[in-house]
Amino acid sequence: MTGTAPSGAAASGIRLPRALMLALPLVLIAVVGALAPWLAPASPSATDLSASLEGPSTSHWLGTDQLGRDQLSRIVFAARTSLSVAAVVMTLAFVVGVTIGAVGAFAGGIVDRLVTWAVEAALSVPSLLLALAIIGIRGNSVPNLILALTIVAWAPYARIARGAVLGYRRSAASEALVGLGAHPLRVLFGHVIPTASRPALVFASTDVGAVVLATAGLSFLGLGITPPTPEWGQMLVESRPYLATAWWLWLPPGVAITVVALSGNLLSEHLGVAPELRRLRIRRPRPTPSTSPKRGRAQTAAKTGRPVPLWEMRDLRVDFDTPDGPVAAVRGLDYTLDRGEVLAIVGESGSGKTVSCLAPLGLAGDRAAVRGSARLAGTELVGAGEDTLRAVRGAEIAVVFQNPYAALNPLRRVGALVADGLRPPAKGHQARERVVELLRAAGLPHPEDVADRYPHELSGGMRQRVLVAAALAGDPDIVVADEPTTALDATTQAEVIELLRRLQRERGLALVLVSHDLGVVAHLADRVLVMHDGVAVEEIAADQLPNATHPRTRDLLDAVPRLPETRAGTRATTRSTEARC
């Protein structure tokens, strides 16, 4: 869908007051303008040559101009002029634009092509130029000014409305409505028009500044509002001869225009930035349960006997700083991992399993605060500097990311991407050879050719293999594979799992496998750590999974789809963990 920022504005309820606050200067100026005849201390056109060019005083708060007119009154009346022109222009542009855009999207076919084309053409012509030409040809008057500004302003509204309606028409929501048997009029008025209007309305709120600026600019050139009607841009022209002597003539009108435009721009920035913030929204922290999580005691006891584990987490905690306050993603996690071991961390999405792996490496973003302890071969990583962490990343601990479609820079060739991670670093021919070797090790056919390709030229499975190759480039001891198969189709998933297993055995890697699918990891892991809500609820040897007792583990086990045995006797049930034992 298109940038429907307003949805969040209404939904979250937190940003709305902020938006109102940002719009406040605009609203205030509009109110002052509307009440100008009652608020202004004097008539804006009452001249008094005996009192010309007087500085600010108690009788004239903002002084007087060359004709002795009260400057404050003129500013206040000018607000009325500017904002009513803006209001008319924006109403016209909104109605015309939204109608054209919505009709185009709704009608489709040739009509839509024409609309798209007209919008493109209108947007590819400089607006100031167009407005000037229209006024120049038709003559200088307020209706022509409004006409010119409307012709300049309608196109973005049409584009926004078209995009919104198109998005809606293609959405399952609109199909569901049709499927319910809704009358076309209900669809039009209840859904299409609101869909088109909402984003256009947001744009309008941010467009005020631009329209006021354009009005002032044209008036400044003597082509918009003409004397004696006061207007900010026109007041500025008149102040030109007094730049050195009478600051009260040129400063206030400029400030007024700037405040209006700034208010609009702040609003626009705020409403535009909002979707980014929404992405950060994670569940609010819940009170930490008082009971300590159950754990496979025998396992832990066996491990503590060893000297220094390769990778050891103790009471790891990760909090995210969000606009709504800190949110706990990991709330006290302990585990160890030894060389050549495979640990699966399993849990529902949002259980903190990925964050717990990335945060100690400083890869969970700026907003993540990490506490507790994460030791790599005895070296503490929590609280370590960026340089230390950078030396660890890739060379000691490598990560295979979830989405192979997004985790490769689309603008760089595969070979360059993999070469980046080579440790020790290499260049030229030598790097090339090592990269090809890695790609081959990752099971990519024709590695020389693949090295020269861009990520988009590869299938999902091939990309995931490239990511695996890149992870191996630094010759790490530990590989963290974050949902390495979730984005792939079933057959490819099996191949990637097979690859990870082979590489892990060949290279003696310690592997941390993060997944929501117990069925996938159970085949690979020695131990399984079940996470829920930021804590480990159970740690258990993979072959003991069928005997798992914790309800969360049982949930995950039950969720694994199971196939009955085929008559041929081969197991079709390998996906189920229980059937294996």
Partner: protein, 265 residues
């Protein structure tokens, strides 16, 4: 109840001849029956599903729901008959208007169906939410404030609001976490048992069907290649395509020959 007979569906293409998406498919769904329609992506199963609910016209054959073919009706008649078959879509968020609360989305469906007097709508919304095991307090929330599984339940509740005879579910759990998948599937079975609604369940994953389907039909390149009771299809597949889908559903084809992996010897 649903009788699909020799249905063929073609897409016009810019270049080349028309693309036959569905080629002479016949299939029935009885009341209270869950029929799984399985196939790889692009095999025509979604096109067929959309034709069943009238979102797509078919070129040949008949699709009769209680012996009424939607494509043979005029606009207003069609709107009325549409309600008998309701679709549950793949994307749980996309099928709900992001600006409307849950209550208003279900309420609108009730208003369209005119099945319940205006005054009793709120009450009926509560009933429907309870039917899909959602707390009625979610009625004020918007889709974004719900999880994927909750959204899918809302979509099901909305579909049920117009009292359909048939639910057409197009990959309704593919976008969900495994544990959530299982719960939604269980809900569909439960609704079938309680309401006697028929269900045509479209998926690419045979493993999902193993959990819920009474009968399974396998599509491949627009044709129906095999169909029969679920147990039979899953345990004694006869068509090579079915065998392939079964292997994909196990996800570890290599282990069919090799010993199970991952268990330390």
């Amino acid at each position: 109840m649903l009788r699909i007979q020799d249905v063929t569906l073609r897409y016009r293409r810019r270049s080349g001849g028309p693309l036959t998406a569905v080629d002479g498919v016949s299939l029935t769904v009885a009341a209270g029956e869950i029929v799984g329609l399985v196939g790889e992506s692009g095999c025509g199963k979604s096109s067929l599903a959309r034709a069943v609910v009238g979102l797509h016209r078919h070129d040949e054959g008949t699709i009769g729901l209680d012996d009424v073919d939607l494509s043979a009706l005029g606009a207003s008649e069609r709107r009325r008959h549409r309600r008998r078959a309701q679709m549950v879509f793949q994307d749980p968020f996309g099928s709900l208007d992001p600006h409307r609360s849950v209550g208003s989305a279900i309420g609108e469906a009730l208003a369209i169906a005119r099945s319940v007097p205006r005054t009793q709508r709120a009450e009926r919304v509560t009933e429907l939410l309870e039917l899909v095991h959602l707390d009625p307090s979610v009625r004020g929330r918007r889709p974004r404030e719900l999880s994927g599984g909750q959204c899918q339940r809302v979509a099901i509740a909305r579909a049920l609001a117009v009292e359909p005879r048939l639910l057409v579910c197009d990959e309704p759990v593919t976008a969900l976490d495994l544990s959530v998948q299982a719960k939604v599937l269980d809900l569909l079975v439960e609704l079938r048992d309680r309401l006697g609604t028929g269900c045509l369940f479209i998926t690419h994953d045979l493993a999902v069907l193993a959990r819920i389907a009474d009968r399974i039909a396998v599509m491949h390149e627009g044709r129906l290649v095999e169909s029969g009771p679920a147990q039979q299809i899953l345990t004694a597949p006869s068509h090579p395509q079915t065998v392939r889908l079964l292997e994909a559903a196990t996800r570890f084809p290599s282990t069919a020959q090799n010993p199970p992996i991952g268990v330390p010897a």
